[in-house]
């Protein structure tokens, strides 16, 4: 390997800077994608209509919110084997203000209902709810208990139900694909 003295190095750096400067001269700076207009992006992506819907379908961010057993399978959904990132469901958000979909995983007791409601109200619209597992769907094995509400649909509007006790992480993947179809208008409400 050749070694350069400090002076040689500095001249090389100057020459490189000059080359970059000349190559950029006379060209327009590219617009920052972050601040581009929606119409520009839709022209670039060749989507004439439904740009917002397209974006909504492909970046569903779930809320990091687990109640009971199903939350363990929810973690499995985010882990290496399932790799939820490939369909855009990455990033379990810690705050409801950044989340699009709430996955209710676990039994909902009477004391936790106000908290769940409040989380739902804090989410920005449009917001979606997935009832994950038997307990969130209908009360599950606890349907006779005195402290359980029999299904989260008594409190929140549910979009997709997932059956199973607990459902496998794959089932959640399928449920979110169903939800994408629903948002995209492929499934009637």
């Amino acid at each position: 390997m050749e070694e350069y003295t400090k002076e040689e190095f500095m001249t090389a750096k100057k020459e490189m800077d000059q080359l970059v400067y000349e190559s950029l001269k006379g060209k327009e700076a590219k617009p920052n994608v972050m601040f581009a207009k929606m119409s520009e992006i839709s022209r670039a992506l060749k989507v004439s209509k439904g740009m917002v819907k397209w974006a909504r379908v492909n970046s569903l961010w779930p809320l990091q919110f687990g109640l009971a057993c199903c939350a363990i399978e929810l973690m499995g959904f985010g882990s290496a084997r399932i790799d939820a990132e490939r369909k855009g469901y990455l990033l379990f958000r810690g705050t409801p203000r950044q989340a699009d979909v709430m996955i209710v995983a676990g039994w909902v007791t009477k004391s936790v209902v106000p908290e769940v409601k409040r989380l739902y109200e804090q989410m920005t619209e449009p917001r979606y709810v997935v009832a994950f597992g038997e307990c969130a769907t209908c009360g599950g094995p606890w349907f006779e208990s005195y402290n359980i509400i029999r299904g989260i649909d008594q409190v929140l509007p549910v979009d997709v139900y997932v059956a199973g006790c607990p459902p496998k992480p794959e089932n959640l993947f399928e449920a979110l694909m169903k939800l994408q179809d629903k948002i995209g208008g492929k499934i009637e409400d």
Binding site: R81, V112, E115, P141, S145, N147, P166
Partner: protein
């Protein structure tokens, strides 16, 4: 300095379930922490009184959803004791193998989440969850379910181990043992991990006995107590294993003890496979009427991954008259008020994480 009171939870990304903590902080140092529980209460003990004996195991599994089989086994053992039923020799070994695999899965999950609690998102979690999935696959193969197994029947198990299960398990355990070394070097060579865990949340051995904590939390404080050794059940007295103890009692010791216990569990499973006899292992099928109970009261003590679980069963004709559960999680949680005094606010979750709590078991 003024003391500020902050509220954490009940729904918070890092409280391991639905737990509410009220903390008084002085600057960044915690003066006092008070846990508020009961957000997952659904009345398991009351529901158990309305179910037949063998309808209850699925409910017991939902107490601790990281180690369901341990609780399933503890309940069935209590019913067996009340009815005076002997467990078959081969079934004992199968139970021990599955329970130890369950312990490995539970402790691996702990190692994964401790990284998250320290803000190390998500490398350690991905590693540990991948290895946990591997162990869960073994359990799924042996029992037929991924999470809630309901594998115990009176006097035995539902089904025998599948063919070639031994070879596949040993192969995966060899891999896991190699991985344990990788975890150790990954975690312990990391200076941030050491600095934030060593000397934080110290629980002295006297205080540990006073608070009544059990399991890895107690053994990390230097007390040699393990139900598997002190009052052995099944074939634990024939198998060779050590109770690992550490003396420091800080967060790092509580992490390390679980890593050592995984290694011990691997050793136990290997030896159990060497000694397992041929024969019948199937338990009684679940029928409309179960056998008559002989004893009025049965008390069972078991070493579940989180600590010592006790089942107190008052027997009636076909249903439990009363079932009381000593939850190790509930008692370990109560030590947080003592442990968190004087730690930084950011380390509160790491301290809580090292107790390895499952709120479903705390609230019952």
């Amino acid at each position: 300095m003024t003391i500020t009171r902050i509220n954490i939870g009940p729904i918070h990304p890092s409280t391991h379930g639905v737990l509410r903590l009220v903390a008084d902080i002085d600057g960044d140092t915690i003066v006092r922490v008070e846990p508020h529980i009961g957000f997952l209460h659904r009345g398991v003990e009351k529901l158990a009184e309305t179910r037949m004996y063998m309808q209850n195991p699925p409910y017991m599994e939902k107490l601790d959803y990281l180690a369901p089989m341990s609780y399933d086994e503890a309940y069935v053992a209590a019913v067996e004791k009340a009815m005076g039923i002997e467990v078959k020799e081969r079934a004992m070994y199968i139970r021990v193998i599955l329970l130890e695999l369950q312990r490995i899965a539970s402790h691996l999950f702990f190692i994964g989440t401790i990284g998250n609690d320290l803000g190390q998102m998500f490398t350690l979690f991905m590693w540990a969850y991948m290895d946990r999935d591997m162990v869960i696959d073994l359990l799924e193969e042996a029992t037929g379910s991924r999470m809630f197994y309901v594998n115990m029947r009176l006097g035995g198990v539902v089904r025998d181990l599948p063919p070639d299960f031994e070879a596949r398990t040993l192969e995966k355990l060899n891999y896991l043992q190699k991985r344990m070394g990788e975890y150790e070097s990954f975690i312990e060579k990391n200076p941030v991990f050491g600095e934030r865990m060593k000397g934080v949340g110290v629980l002295s051995s006297e205080k540990a006995l006073d608070l009544g904590v059990t399991g890895p939390v107690l053994r990390a404080s230097g007390i040699e107590y393990d139900v598997r050794k002190n009052s052995p059940y099944y074939v634990y007295d024939k198998l060779h294993f050590e109770i690992k103890i550490l003396t420091k009692g800080d967060n790092f010791a509580r992490y390390k003890i679980r890593l050592l216990e995984i290694k011990e569990s691997i050793r136990l499973v290997r030896e159990a496979f060497k000694r397992i006899p041929e024969g019948d292992a199937l338990g009684m099928p679940v029928k409309l009427r179960s056998p008559a109970t002989k004893e009025k009261v049965a008390v069972i003590s078991r070493e579940v991954p989180k600590g010592e679980c006790m089942m107190y069963l008052v027997a009636d004709d076909q249903k439990p008259y009363r079932l009381s559960i000593r939850s190790p999680n509930f008692i370990n949680l109560m030590s947080i008020s003592h442990l968190a005094q004087g730690v930084r606010t950011a380390d509160l979750f790491a301290t809580l994480g090292t107790l390895d709590l499952v709120m479903g078991c705390v609230d019952r």
